[in-house]
C-alpha cells in the first residue's frame, strides 16, 4: 500500500468525519443536507480512490464503477431531498428573504414537519 493511497484514504475518512460533525452541529435540515451531500460525496470518493490505488485490491474496474455511480447519484439524491425538504415547509435558519418564495408551493405551517 503506497503512501499516496494511505493519504487519500485518511483524507477521505477525515472528510466523512467533518460531514458527520456538520450533520450534528448545523442548525436546520437544509444546512445539514449541504454538509452531508458535499463533504460526504468527497469523503467516499477519496476513500474509494485510495482503495483502488492501494494495490492490494484486484478490482479497479469495479471500484471505478462504484466511484462513477456515487458521483452521479449522491448529488442527484441530495437535490431531490433538498427540494422535498423545502416543500415540506422546514424552518430556514439565518435566511432573511427567501428567493424561492413564489416559485414552489411551500407548506407554510410546518406542523409536525
Amino acid at each position: 500500500m503506497t503512501i499516496f493511497a494511505m493519504l487519500l484514504m485518511a483524507l477521505g475518512a477525515a472528510f466523512l468525519l467533518v460531514a458527520a460533525i456538520g450533520v450534528i452541529r448545523l442548525p436546520d435540515p437544509l444546512q445539514r443536507l449541504h454538509s452531508a451531500a458535499k463533504a460526504g460525496t468527497m469523503g467516499t470518493a477519496l476513500m474509494l480512490i485510495g482503495a483502488i490505488l492501494s494495490g492490494t485490491v484486484d478490482a479497479s474496474a469495479k471500484g471505478l464503477l462504484t466511484l462513477v455511480f456515487l458521483l452521479l447519484t449522491l448529488p442527484l439524491g441530495a437535490q431531490l431531498m433538498g427540494r422535498a425538504t423545502y416543500i415540506s415547509g422546514t424552518a430556514l435558519k439565518g435566511i432573511k428573504d427567501d428567493p424561492l418564495d413564489q416559485l414552489l408551493d411551500r407548506t407554510q405551517d410546518p406542523g409536525t414537519r
Binding site: 484514504m9 477521505g12 466523512l16 452531508a36 462504484t66 455511480f69 431531490l80 415540506s88
Partner: protein, 88 residues
C-alpha cells in the same frame, strides 16, 4: 498498514455514531433521511476499508450495492415527502 486501517475504522465509527445520533434525535423526518444518506456514505467508506484490509475486490461490489439502494431510497423518500405535504 493494519494499524492504519484500524485508525481509519475508528474515525469512521465516530462519524457513524454522530450520524446515528442525528437519526435518533432528528426533529423532522427530513433530518432522519439526511442522516440515513450520511450513514450510507460512511458504509461505503467501510466497504472500501474492508476491501483493502482483506484484499478481496468483492467488498467494492458491496459498496456499489449500498450506493444503489441509497439512491433509490432517497428518490422514493423525496417523492413521498412532497406528496405527503401536498395531500394534507
Amino acid at each position: 498498514m493494519s494499524l492504519f486501517l484500524s485508525i481509519l475504522s475508528v474515525v469512521l465509527a465516530i462519524a457513524l455514531c454522530l450520524a446515528g445520533w442525528r437519526m435518533v434525535r432528528g426533529p423532522s423526518v427530513a433530518d432522519r433521511f439526511i442522516a440515513l444518506d450520511m450513514l450510507t456514505a460512511v458504509a461505503v467508506g467501510f466497504a472500501a476499508i474492508t476491501a483493502v484490509a482483506t484484499g478481496r475486490g468483492a467488498f467494492l461490489d458491496i459498496g456499489l450495492g449500498i450506493a444503489l439502494i441509497n439512491f433509490v431510497a432517497t428518490a422514493a423518500f423525496a417523492v413521498f415527502l412532497e406528496r405527503k405535504r401536498k395531500s394534507e
